[in-house]
């Protein structure tokens, strides 16, 4: 029988982490994501599955605890919000460089600086372009509902271990704080790791294993980079996820991700009522980006409007994808402000349809 | 009379730091006039007064000394 619950996005993420068989959560409180660690502490996953939950002294410590646990081949997860995610970038770069699997959720709030605690999508660049130092990529999943938070938590661990790469779930203050009906998957068992790359204790007669992101020779570091790039090309080939709404006959296209895509869908419906043939393309993976989907639809539509809760970030990837084939504009509210469907429709009319 | 001992020095791994020389109570060790492949003067035995106390090996940062002692 389906297990349906009414849950907050942050709590659903925490519950999904327990159910996916995660071995460890390391976190640090920050609004609007503190419910994740609060839920975990209250639910005593150590009794349910043996999962470790630890409140670290900082986001930096938390991500490095993740590094340690992930280096042992364990399923480790941390969550934070924008300023905290900035602090985690050092660790994420090391995790990507050492090719360890882990899951990180960013419940994005408005910035820059301490910014605001209200929802935002202004960490798009930080998530999809790497975020820390060096040539690396995170796989970035953008849920638009509490249900997708749950589903993507499971997917994130699958992808993290498939590619030995950190996976970012880019949520935001809306999805994290909103309560929705959610169907939970059944408890999965925790798995004892037995990976060659993991430090699980040296095997007798074999050389010891070490986890590192250091290469002293440039030739060796280039080889590492080439291997990483090959992996990213694989990810781009295999793991793109997106949804299209009413795109078949569309003359104009809206593009939005996460919570903003839900508002944009309403704007699309309003536009259709006014007689405009408008579709919506929603990337579910921000990296790998649905380049081919945008490229294809660029031949069909007269223009694309990206709608984002930022000053124009995904719009750059859409422009790269369509490579000049059609006009691409951006409409955004930011700093914690949320666009309403009317102003999106208005922007569509002004920037694309009438423009 | 003290027990007799002997040391074997892995001269290619020796960096000629001389810490063993100052740790040897019998003044058995000295630096060779020659150098190894890394260019270091390496430690050598200069007499047969070794008692196998292992002090030299215990302070050797590069673990290049193996010690034997008459049983």
């Amino acid at each position: 029988m389906k297990e349906l619950r009414l849950m907050k996005g942050n709590e659903a993420l925490a519950e999904a982490a327990i159910r996916v068989g995660a071995d460890a959560y390391f976190g640090y409180p920050i609004t609007p994501q503190s419910e994740v660690i609060e839920y975990l502490m209250a639910n005593r996953p150590e009794d349910r599955t043996g999962m470790v939950v630890l409140q670290a002294e900082s986001e930096i410590a938390a991500i490095n605890m993740v590094y340690g646990a992930a280096g042992c081949g364990k399923k480790a997860i941390t969550t934070s919000s924008s300023p905290g995610i900035s602090l985690k970038q050092e660790g994420l770069s090391y995790i990507a460089g050492a090719e360890l699997p882990c899951v990180v959720a960013n419940v994005v709030r408005g910035g820059p600086g301490l910014g605001t605690i209200q929802p935002s999508q202004s960490d798009y660049f930080q998530s999809v372009k790497g975020g820390g130092h060096g040539d690396y990529k995170l796989i970035v999943l953008a849920p638009n509902s509490v249900q997708e938070i749950v589903d993507y938590t499971k997917l994130a661990f699958e992808l993290a271990f498939k590619y030995r790469n950190p996976v970012m779930i880019q949520s935001d203050g809306i999805i994290g704080q909103m309560m929705e009906k959610v169907e939970l998957f059944e408890q999965m068992p925790r798995v004892e790791p037995d990976y060659e790359w993991a430090t699980i204790g040296r095997k007798e007669g074999k050389p010891a294993t070490f986890v590192t992101s250091l290469q002293l020779k440039a030739e060796e570091q280039e080889k590492v980079n080439l291997r990483l790039q090959a992996k990213y090309r694989e990810i781009e080939k295999n793991e793109v996820l997106y949804e299209e709404y009413d795109c078949k006959d569309a003359e104009y296209l809206l593009a939005a991700f996460g919570s903003c895509a839900r508002i944009t869908r309403k704007a699309m419906e309003l536009a259709r009522k006014k007689g405009y043939k408008v579709g919506l393309l929603r990337p579910q993976t921000l990296y790998p980006f649905p380049v081919d989907a945008f490229n294809k639809i660029a031949y069909q539509v007269k223009g694309i409007l990206t709608v984002e809760m930022n000053a124009g970030q995904m719009v750059e990837d859409v422009r790269l994808a369509v490579n000049g084939k059609t006009k691409v504009e951006h409409f955004g509210r930011f700093g914690g402000m949320i666009p309403n469907p009317d102003e999106i429709l208005n922007a569509l009319e002004q920037k694309i349809i009438g423009g | 009379m003290a027990k007799r001992g002997d040391v074997v020095i892995d001269i290619e791994k020796c960096k000629g730091c001389e810490v063993c020389i100052s740790a040897c109570p019998q003044e058995v060790l000295a630096l060779a006039p020659q150098v190894n492949n890394k260019g270091y003067h390496y430690a050598i035995k200069v007499n047969s007064d070794c008692t196998g106390c292992a002090n030299c090996a215990i302070v050797c940062p590069d673990a290049v000394i193996t010690v034997y002692r008459e049983k």
């Binding site: 042992c72 986890v211 250091l214 | 047969s48 302070v59 034997y68 002692r69």
Partner: protein, 255 residues
């Protein structure tokens, strides 16, 4: 010599197999090599080579994983105690150690160090204090002595502008999470033996889940102190030991 003593039955000392055969990159006479060796010997003697996971820092000992024949992870600068926490929490039955220098442990990683110790993580922290940043070429460290010259304190450490050297080990000893805190050196045979005993004790306590054990090793840095190894050991005795006195700082209460 009348007979050849060099045969296995007369063997009294040889390099432990818990160290690999790789030539260490450390400068001649550097204390790191000896500190590595005694830690490896303890692991060997306790028979825990396959149950030990180490964490290397950023600093001269960044490549420690080349020399220890145990599973190891290389941490970001200062983060070794957090990485070790992650390892120990998912593998509570393993022996976990960090090996860190003064810049790593007492400057950039102060928060991670203090909080791991405060939580009483069941790990061994080996802290090699030579009062200088070795790998980057001799800059001032948190533990650089007052008046001591370095490339970033070329006229000597001036406490008015640079602060006083940090006795982090005394600070660590104040924390309820630490069980055994000691300061040792590895420059003379007697000191090496004592330091090794301290590491052995720490590992035995880890087996009993007693909390964090912290072993500082005051060490030399001949290259950056610009002395010969033997001179540097003498300088260390005369200058480092008065400020960083050797001995146990926190010992478990005997029952």
């Amino acid at each position: 010599m009348a007979e050849n003593l060099i045969n296995p039955e007369n063997l009294v000392y040889k390099k432990t197999d818990v160290l690999t055969d790789r030539i260490m990159h450390y400068c001649p006479g550097c204390g790191h090599g000896t500190a590595h060796r005694i830690l490896a010997e303890v692991i060997d003697e306790m028979g825990i080579q396959n149950e030990t996971i180490g964490v290397a820092p950023v600093g001269c000992s960044v490549l420690a994983y080349y020399y220890f024949n145990v599973d190891m992870q290389e941490a970001a600068h200062g983060r070794a105690p957090a990485v070790a926490t992650g390892i120990k929490r998912v593998f509570p039955e393993k022996f976990v150690f960090t090996y860190q220098g003064d810049g790593d442990l007492a400057a950039i990683g102060t928060a991670e160090t203090i909080h791991a110790c405060n939580r009483g993580e069941n790990i061994l922290v080996v802290f090699v204090n030579n009062g200088i940043y070795g790998m980057t070429g001799g800059q001032m460290a948190p533990t650089t002595l007052v008046g001591m010259k370095s490339s970033t304190s070329p006229f000597g450490r001036d406490t008015k502008t640079m602060g006083a050297p940090l006795k982090i080990t005394e600070l660590i000893a104040q924390l309820p999470g630490t069980y055994f805190v000691t300061r040792q050196s590895v420059h003379k045979p007697g000191n090496v033996r004592k330091a090794k005993k301290a590491i052995r004790k720490a590992m035995e306590y880890q087996k009993l889940n007693k909390g964090t054990c912290f072993v500082e090793i005051v060490a030399n840095c001949p290259s950056n102190w610009k002395m010969t190894p033997v001179q540097s050991n003498k300088w260390m005795e005369e200058n480092m030991f008065p400020f960083y006195p050797l001995g146990d700082i926190k010992v478990p209460e005997e029952k």
